[in-house]
Symmetry: C2
Subunit: 209 residues, 2 copies
């Protein structure tokens, strides 16, 4: 009495519960969220814009772990590199959310703003409009593929005598640990070098805008 009770339902709690479900089983349903929160399914729908709205709340929540300051670094390639590293770490914490978020359209305001900042970074660096999204998406494909790879077992190839693979064995032995990080570094360096060379080889800045 006099002391406010914690509300049974709010967007924060719905998001937290949806993310727990996705972490556990790779997906969620609204009735499952309602059950965990001890509420009716219809009550959950009062707080969110349908199932798709919950997906966008999940996107905001996972992307909130990306350090927003990374995109302010200079020069642009250092900013892009820092953003990619922070992006990978944020999604590696929730690998089972990756397929869900990669295959649903982006509507979350905070995430759209982050894309706007990344596009602005690259446009200001001198990239032509048509070059920007292919570069960002290629980087995201690498980042999210690598984030999924971080959820893989460290011993990813289980060799047996039934299938002789001597050169695979040699190549695996040459990278005794941290293979996921090493692979990410190779891909990131490749994309950054490619972007730098694209910029250098392109038309002069005046023609790009």
């Amino acid at each position: 009495m006099g002391r406010p009770r914690t509300p049974l339902l709010d967007r924060e709690r719905i998001t937290t519960t949806a993310l727990q479900l996705v972490d556990e089983q790779g997906d969620f349903s609204v009735p499952q969220i309602a059950k965990r929160l001890g509420a009716q399914t219809g009550s959950v729908y009062h707080h969110v814009d349908g199932r798709d709205g919950i997906v966008e709340l999940l996107r905001e929540r996972v992307a909130a772990a990306i350090d927003p300051g990374t995109l302010d670094a200079t020069p642009w390639d250092r900013a892009l590199e820092s953003w990619a590293r922070s992006y990978r770490a944020a999604f590696a914490a929730h690998p089972r959310a990756i397929p869900l978020l990669m295959t649903s359209p982006v509507r979350a305001p905070g995430v759209l703003e982050q894309y706007e900042r990344a596009v602005t970074l690259l446009r200001d660096a001198g990239f032509a409009p048509a070059a920007v999204m292919p570069l960002i998406i290629a980087l995201e494909n690498l980042v999210l593929g690598s984030a999924l790879d971080l959820a893989a077992p460290e011993t990813m190839w289980e060799l047996t005598e039934d299938t002789p693979t001597p050169r695979l064995a040699e190549a695996l032995a040459a990278v005794p640990e941290g293979r996921a990080d090493r692979a990410f570094e190779v891909g990131l360096e490749a994309l950054l070098n490619h972007a730098r060379s694209h910029l250098t080889a392109g038309p002069p800045p005046a023609a790009r805008r």
Copy 2:
């Protein structure tokens, strides 16, 4: 009588059913497979090496769509490029299998043999043992990230007036269609160029083996 009946259970049918379940829901359980095939769960286990064995049957089935001839092309970078394209197409047909297969250790003999061939291609081209798996894994992260992206809606960013994103809008309008393919091409070219330059800049071939 006299005519053999189609067996209720065999590895082929178990694999087909497991893949249908993964395509539908991103995962499978052995009881679900049994139910669809009208069999007892215990009977399914008589045909396979546990749940993990079914995952490896799925891996063999999905990877069987990768054209094995790609790795025979010359020079090595053309082979790697063709393999990456075929690999992406094979997994793009079953995007929901990607997280499952990326996070389970590889035991399938046919798939291990394919890695052996890819490693051999790169070793014979002159790559040092420690450079091979990071390059292959970086390529796979890009390929599988891009395969997941192919399952995304063509309109992936849904802009609204509530969140002003003029430069994102301009960048999206500059790539009116085929953004997933364009991004894959950028990433693939970046990784191939990086690998070529790594090879050129490295020690002489005699020192690499």
